[in-house]
């Protein structure tokens, strides 16, 4: 296998990192604009939130809050301050909880990442299994699987999660109802997230798999004595997974969305629960902070996915 010189790898990563940084900058700017559009007086909102009900604060109180959060500065200054603080890892202070956002998120993000990652792996495993064993065959199982994949892809994670929860946890009592940080508590939430994604990936790679099976190089391999399973595993699979790999980049975002829902269903630890309460409490810094951090994870994940693609398909030059 030809190995590119180390310099080209580094240059590629560097270029992608710059691109990623640009995207993140745009993301932060976007979120800033959105939060600046918030209707109503933000100082008032904060005071009311702390008090727990609608109050009538004095001007001095309002001024104090404005000064603390910088709401009365000109918008350009607010923006620059915002960017400056972000570069230092300061995502602001939560309106509700009065703790730095980065602290809150940092504590809770790991369970979500674990959940998303295991769902991705499980989804791929299921999709590859379905495809290699059943794709392109004439038997009724294969036709059933195609339909099944469509059904899987359409069902939302919160629905599957609910069904799994009700069936396995409540009635069959195989898994715990409230999945804490144990491994076994990870099973049902992972399945809930993995199944729809497996459906998507399965549909995409199955289509490609069937197409590649007809290609002449597959016949060439058979003509040298390769058996059917061997041809599928050693030749076709590598070609067929390529569109699925491209899909995986987008899938990271989708998994995060799904994770929020699934964590709610299973009352699991993670940023999902925090995000939901923050949203209903109109806690802007916390929501924007979580969003920006997730976008960062998405950008990094995409760079890794693209790198993986280049390993699988060496036809594309690194340059």
């Amino acid at each position: 296998m030809p190995i590119a010189s180390g310099n080209r790898h580094v240059a590629w990563f560097f270029r992608r990192a710059i691109g990623g940084a640009a995207v993140l900058w745009a993301v932060t700017t976007f979120t800033f604009i959105v939060q600046a559009l918030m209707p109503g007086d933000r100082a008032l909102l904060i005071i009311n939130m702390a008090a727990g009900n609608i109050t009538n604060p004095s001007q001095a109180e309002i001024d104090a809050v404005n000064a603390e959060y910088g709401f009365t500065d000109p918008i350009a200054v607010q923006y620059l301050n915002y960017l400056w603080r972000l570069l230092h890892g300061d995502f602001g202070v939560s309106y509700q909880l009065h703790r730095p956002v980065i602290e809150i998120v940092g504590a809770q993000i790991l369970p979500t990442i674990v959940l998303a990652f295991s769902a991705l792996l499980t989804a791929w495993f299921i999709a590859i299994f379905m495809t290699v064993v059943l794709a392109g065959r004439a038997n009724p199982w294969s036709r059933f699987v195609s339909g099944l994949q469509i059904v899987m892809a359409t069902m939302p994670p919160y629905w599957i999660g609910t069904i799994l929860l009700v069936t396995f946890a409540v009635y069959l009592r195989i898994f715990p109802v409230e999945g804490k940080n144990s491994l076994i508590g990870l099973v049902l939430p992972t399945l809930a997230l993995a199944i729809p994604l497996a459906g998507f990936i399965g549909l995409v790679i199955q289509q490609e798999f069937v197409r590649v099976l007809e290609q002449p190089f597959v016949t060439s391999s058979r003509a040298r004595g390769m058996g059917d399973f061997g041809v599928r595993l050693r030749h076709v699979l590598r070609h067929a997974v390529l569109p699925g790999v491209t899909l995986s980049g987008w899938a990271v975002g989708s998994l995060f969305s799904g994770a929020v829902l699934v964590e709610t269903v299973f009352a699991r630890q993670g940023i999902g629960g925090i995000l939901v309460t923050a949203t209903s409490a109109r806690d802007v810094p916390l929501v924007t902070g979580i969003t920006v951090i997730s976008a960062g994870i998405y950008v990094i994940a995409n760079i890794l996915v693209d790198r993986a693609y280049l390993i699988i398909d060496p036809r594309i030059k690194l340059a």
């Binding site: 745009a26 959105v34 339909g147 359409t154 629905w159 409540v170 929020v260 829902l261």
Partner: protein
């Protein structure tokens, strides 16, 4: 020999024959799906026709009843019939889905066609913009919206609409670009047709004719996502019968009365699946794979 020499004796029978032939080739699952969609459409327009009880009528003698013949999907903590609530909520759920899809399509068309036709600069700008939007997990973007503008039906529509738009925009952009580079476009240039005419007669029709199918599939997904938002408590206020709101309400009773959480979900999934089946079938017809 002039072409008008060929006449059809009676235009009625061949048409009917053709319709029957086409109908016979439609698979069973498409008929089932169409029935389900029809059911929900009727529920949306005239819920009273299909309800078994009044949706808001409380019956405190029959709280938390499991599904039975009198209450198909059971009752909730106030004795309201779940089935009837689902039927009455169809209208709101479907309109949210349709609204979000319409918004999504408008934004996506604008961005996608501009990127496809506009030349390298415009395409570059739009693509960068879409890259940024993609970096937001869809739900998070929606939640950001809800945070800023507060939970309501309108926010639901806008959040889901804008959240799904980038995906469609990218698809449309791809379609327009490939139509633009197609051989028949070049042939039209060689024939001497001016570019606006080519766009109108070749590029747009070929690029956008999968749009109908996209929208059909999209409505299903929009309903799913909008319900997801409501499930998190961020949609319309209670006592709405909108399906997502029902999901949210049922969350507390999962262990005691599973039907409150599962049945609205069944409705959502049934609608989304039916729409997907019909959409895929339309897609197959359009692409000529009639026996799919």
């Amino acid at each position: 020999m002039s072409s008008s020499a060929v006449t059809l004796p009676r235009r009625v029978s061949p048409r009917i024959r053709e319709t029957i032939a086409i109908s016979a080739r439609i698979p069973l699952r498409v008929y089932l799906a169409a029935t389900v969609i029809a059911f929900f459409l009727v529920s949306a327009i005239t819920p009273h026709l299909l309800q078994s009880h009044s949706a808001f009528k409380m019956d405190l003698r029959a709280t938390l009843q499991p599904p039975s013949l009198s209450h198909f999907f059971g009752t909730d903590q106030a004795g309201r019939d779940t089935y009837s609530r689902i039927v009455s909520g169809a209208g709101q759920s479907l309109s949210i889905g349709l609204g979000a899809t319409a918004l999504s399509m408008i934004v996506a068309l604008f961005l996608g066609v501009a990127a496809g036709l506009g030349g390298r600069l415009v395409d570059g700008a739009v693509s960068r913009f879409l890259d940024v939007l993609f970096a937001f997990p869809m739900l998070f973007l929606a939640l950001l919206f809800v945070t800023v503008f507060g939970p309501s039906v309108t926010t639901q529509i806008i959040a889901v609409g804008l959240g799904t738009a980038p995906g469609y925009a990218r698809m449309i952009r791809g379609q327009v670009l490939s139509a633009r580079g197609a051989g028949y476009v070049e042939a039209a240039v060689a024939l001497g047709h001016p570019f606006p005419k080519i766009v109108r007669r070749h590029i747009l029709p070929n690029a956008l004719h999968p749009l109908v199918v996209m929208m059909t599939l999209g409505v299903g997904q929009a309903v799913v996502w909008a319900s997801g938002l409501a499930f998190l408590g961020l949609g319309a206020a209670p006592p709405s019968s909108e399906w997502g709101a029902l999901l949210d309400a049922g969350r507390d009773y999962i262990t005691r009365a599973w039907w409150l959480e599962v049945m609205p979900g069944v409705a959502i999934v049934a609608f989304a699946l039916s729409v997907t089946v019909v959409g895929h079938h339309l897609q197959d017809r359009l692409e000529g794979r009639v026996d799919a």
